[in-house]
Symmetry: C2
Subunit: 417 residues, 2 copies
DNA sequence: AGACTTTTTCCAAGCCTCGTAAAAAATGGT
DNA sequence: ACCATTTTTTACGAGGCTTGGAAAAAGTCT
C-alpha cells in the first residue's frame, strides 16, 4: 500500500495504546513501570495510558502472589480483564465443525465439536450451523465471578469470530471461494454470521492462519518461521518480518499445490505432480496400496497410524510411500527456502505423527534442492494437536483485532464505583 | 520486527515529512495545496512542512510554464532541488563495472562503464575500482547552474552509493557473500568504500533490487509484481505489499536456483535441476549445441541473438533449447504463483529479446503447474535495457534512503539570502 | 521508628496538527 | 481601468499527547 498517510496525535495515541496492549499480551501480567520500560514510553505516559485502559475496563489490577521481595514501593500488577470481551475461534473441516470460545485475557472458556455432513450444504445452512455452534459455546461459558457491582459485564455476547477453513478464502475475509469440505463455490459467511451474532466475523484459510498461534510466544518473537500442515491435504503458513503472510488474490501459501514433479502423480486439484499428490494422506495411502483412487472423504487417523506402523515393521510399499512423501515435502521446502530463506518449521497434522518416517527424506530433499543445501538442518518443531493449534491461532488473530479496535476507539467508559 | 515502538511528536514530524517527499517523488512538481490533498494533511500543516523543506534546501520553487489557466491565486510550484544531493548507482557484473550518478531530483548527471577483469581481485582492489569509478562520475558531472549567491551548493560530493551485484550479498547491505563475478568470498565493500567516498554505501543483489525502479511510477503504485531477469543467470525481484522483498539470511529470491526437475540438468551452483540449468544463457546454449560444459565467462549478447535467429529459422535443437528454457521458467513462475499470488512480470535480460521463443512455453508451464492454471495470463512487460533498469532501481533506492534521512534530521539549514 | 528505595501520580512545557480568519494573487465582467 | 470573485498561501489560537521533574505513596532494611 502506498504510504501517503499522514499522522497526527490520534495516530500516536492509537499506536501507543496498541504497543501497551501488545506488551501485555506477551508478558501476561505487568506494571506501569514495566510498560514504560518495554515500550520506551515515559513513565508518565505509560501510567496515563494504563489508567485509561483500566477505566475503559480492558485491564484490571490484580493481586500477584509470588511477587519478588524487593525494596521500594511495589508496582501494582495489571492484567487483561477477561470479562472485557469474548472471542470465538471456529474451524470448518471435512465432516465436522468445531470451535473454542475464549475471554479477552485469552483464557479458554469452552470448546465444542460436531460431526456434520456439510459437504452438500448451502451457505445459509452453514451459517446456521456455525451460529448454533457459537451460541452453544457462549451458553456453555461459565459466568465469570462478577464480583463487582453488577453493571460489571455487559450482557454476554461474542465480540469477535474467526472462522478457519481448509481451502481458498476471499482475501477480504468475507467467505469461502472453494473448500474441499464443501461442494458449493463462493459462499459468503462473514456478513450473515455477523448479522446473527452481532459480532465481527473473519474467514481465513486454516493453514495460513496458523502462525498467529505464536504471535505472542516469547520464543517466537521477531522470528520468521513457517507452519506446515501435512494431513489429508498439505498446507503452509508463513510469518515473515513479524507479520503473517496473506496473499492478495488467493488466501494462502498453497504449499501442497506447488508442483513437485512435472507430469507426476495426479492431485485432487486436477494438476499433476503437486506436493500433495505425494505427501497428502490419500497420496501416501494410494501409493502404499497400489490403488489409483482419490477418496472423497478424509482418511481416519488410525488408518494413517496403522500405515506408519506397517512401514516401521518393514512393509516395503508403505515405507516407500512415506519416503516419497518426505522427498516431495523436502523438495517443496527447498524450493520455498530458495525463494524466501531457510526457516524453522512448525509441523502438524498426521505427518507430524509419522515424522520418523518422513524426516530423513525431507532433509535429503532440502539438501538436494536448496542452494548449498541451506536449510537442510532447519529446526523442526512438532505440534501434534492440530485443532488446538488452529484454535490458538484463531483466538490470537481475534484478540489482536480486538486490541486494534479498542485502541482506536477512545472509549472512556464505565466509571467504576 | 516486534512492534514495541512508541510514537511521539518526533515520529509524527518524520512520518509526515516523508509523506510529502514521497508524494513529490511521484508527481515531480507539486504545490502546497496539492500536497495537502495528496497526503491528507491540513493545508496549514502541508504548507508549514513545505516551508521547512524549502528552507532546508531540499525543495525549491520553480516557474511552471504550462500552468492551467484557472481563476484564483495560482499555486507556487515546488520541486526537488537537484543540487541538494547526489546518488551513485553502481553495478558489478562479470567482466565489467559501471554506474550512473543522479541528482536529488533523480535526473541523471553522468554514466560510465569500464571493462575490467575483476574475477580474481581482492576486496581492496574492488573498492579502489569502484571508488575510482564513482569519483570519475562525480568529476564528469556538469556543474548545475549555481545561480544563487555561491554558498548555494556545498562542495560536490556523493551522498549515497548503491552497489548492485549478481550473487549473494550480506543482509546488512555491507558486502558480498558470493558472486559469479568474483573468485573470493565474503568481501566487505560498504565500510571501506564509505570511508573513501564519505558517503553511505549499500550493497544489494541486482535482481532483488530491480523492483525499486518502479517505486514511484504511477502505473505501478500499490501494485505487487515481480521482476524477472533471464540472462547468463536467472534471478527475480519481488514487490509485495508495497515494499521490495529482502531476505533475512540470503539477499534475494533465488529464482534461478529453485529446483525445476529433481535430478535434472547440472547447474552452476552444483545442484541438479535448477531453473537456471535450463533457462540461463549457458544452459540454452549447451542444450542447443549438445555440449556439456558450463562456460566460465558470460556469453556475448550476439551469440544468444544468433541462437534465437537460428531457432526462428527452424533449427530444431535451438528451438527445443528455448522451449525447454521457457518450460522451466513457466514451472518456476507457477510455483511462485502458487506460493505467493499470480503477479505481473517485468522481464529483462537476454531472455526478453527471445520472448517470442519463450513465451508460449512459459505460459504453458504456468498453466500446468499453478492451481487452476492461475497466472498463465499474467501480464508480461518487457524491458530490454537491463543496465538502465538497474541504475533506475539503485537510484530510486538511494533517493528513498536519502528522503528518509532528511526527514529524520531536523536540519533547519542555510538561510537563503 | 526512621532512613532508604522504588513506583505512581501530578503538573507545567513542548511539538505537531487542525480549523478559521486574513492576506495575497490572478481572472472576469462592466 | 476597476471591482467582485475565486483560489492559494500565511497567520494565529486551540487541542491532544508525550516529556521531564517534583512530590506523594508504599514498601524494605537497620
Amino acid at each position: 500500500m502506498s504510504r501517503l498517510a499522514k499522522t497526527d496525535a490520534d495516530m500516536v495515541r492509537v499506536h501507543n495504546r496498541l504497543a501497551v496492549l501488545d506488551h501485555l499480551r506477551r508478558v501476561g501480567v505487568t506494571t506501569r513501570k514495566a510498560v514504560s520500560e518495554a515500550t520506551g514510553l515515559s513513565v508518565s505516559a505509560a501510567s496515563a495510558i494504563c489508567g485509561t485502559l483500566l477505566r475503559s475496563g480492558l485491564l484490571e489490577e490484580v493481586e500477584e502472589d509470588g511477587r519478588s521481595i524487593r525494596r521500594g514501593r511495589p508496582g501494582k500488577s495489571l492484567a487483561f480483564r477477561g470479562g472485557a470481551a469474548r472471542v470465538a475461534a471456529l474451524k470448518i473441516a471435512v465432516g465436522e465443525i468445531s470451535g473454542r470460545i475464549s475471554d479477552y485475557a485469552g483464557a479458554p472458556l469452552a470448546e465444542a465439536r460436531r460431526e456434520v455432513d456439510i459437504s452438500g450444504q448451502t451457505g445459509d445452512t452453514l451459517v446456521v450451523l456455525l451460529g448454533d455452534l457459537a451460541e452453544d459455546l457462549l451458553a456453555r461459558t461459565i459466568e465469570p465471578g462478577t464480583g463487582e457491582g453488577g453493571a460489571g459485564d455487559a450482557p454476554m455476547k461474542i465480540d469477535k469470530v474467526v472462522v478457519a477453513i481448509q481451502g481458498k478464502t476471499h482475501s477480504d475475509l468475507s467467505g469461502i471461494v472453494w473448500s474441499p469440505a464443501l461442494k458449493h463455490w463462493n459462499i459468503g459467511i462473514a456478513a450473515p454470521l455477523s448479522e446473527r451474532l452481532l459480532a465481527d466475523v473473519s474467514v481465513l484459510n486454516d493453514c495460513s492462519l496458523m502462525p498467529e498461534a505464536f504471535r505472542w510466544r516469547p520464543d517466537f518473537i521477531g522470528l520468521d518461521f513457517a507452519t506446515l500442515f501435512v494431513g489429508f491435504g498439505v498446507g503452509m503458513g508463513l510469518r515473515l518480518n513479524g507479520s503473517t503472510f496473506q496473499g492478495k488474490h488467493s488466501s494462502a501459501v498453497e504449499f501442497g499445490h506447488i508442483n513437485h514433479l512435472p507430469g507426476g502423480a495426479l492431485c485432487r486439484c486436477g494438476n499433476r505432480g503437486c506436493v500433495e499428490a505425494y505427501a497428502g494422506d490419500y497420496a501416501i495411502l494410494r501409493r502404499a496400496t497400489g490403488s489409483d483412487e482419490i477418496p472423497a472423504h478424509r482418511i481416519a487417523d488410525e488408518t494413517m497410524l496403522r500405515l506408519g506402523d506397517a512401514a516401521r515393521q518393514g512393509d516395503e510399499a508403505a515405507r516407500t510411500a512415506f519416503e516419497e512423501a518426505g522427498n516431495a515435502i523436502g523438495y517443496g521446502l527447498g524450493r520455498v527456502f530458495t525463494m524466501i530463506d531457510p526457516l524453522p518449521i512448525v509441523m502438524t497434522g498426521s505427518g507430524a505423527r509419522a515424522i520418523d518416517l518422513l524426516e530423513p527424506a525431507i532433509r535429503n530433499g532440502i539438501r538436494e534442492s536448496a542452494v548449498d543445501g541451506l536449510g537442510a538442518d532447519a529446526p523442526l518443531i512438532l505440534m501434534e494437536d492440530t485443532d488446538a493449534l488452529v484454535y490458538d491461532a484463531g483466538t490470537a488473530y481475534g484478540l489482536a483485532a480486538l486490541d486494534g479496535e479498542f485502541s482506536r476507539s477512545a472509549v472512556e467508559a464505565t466509571e467504576a464505583a
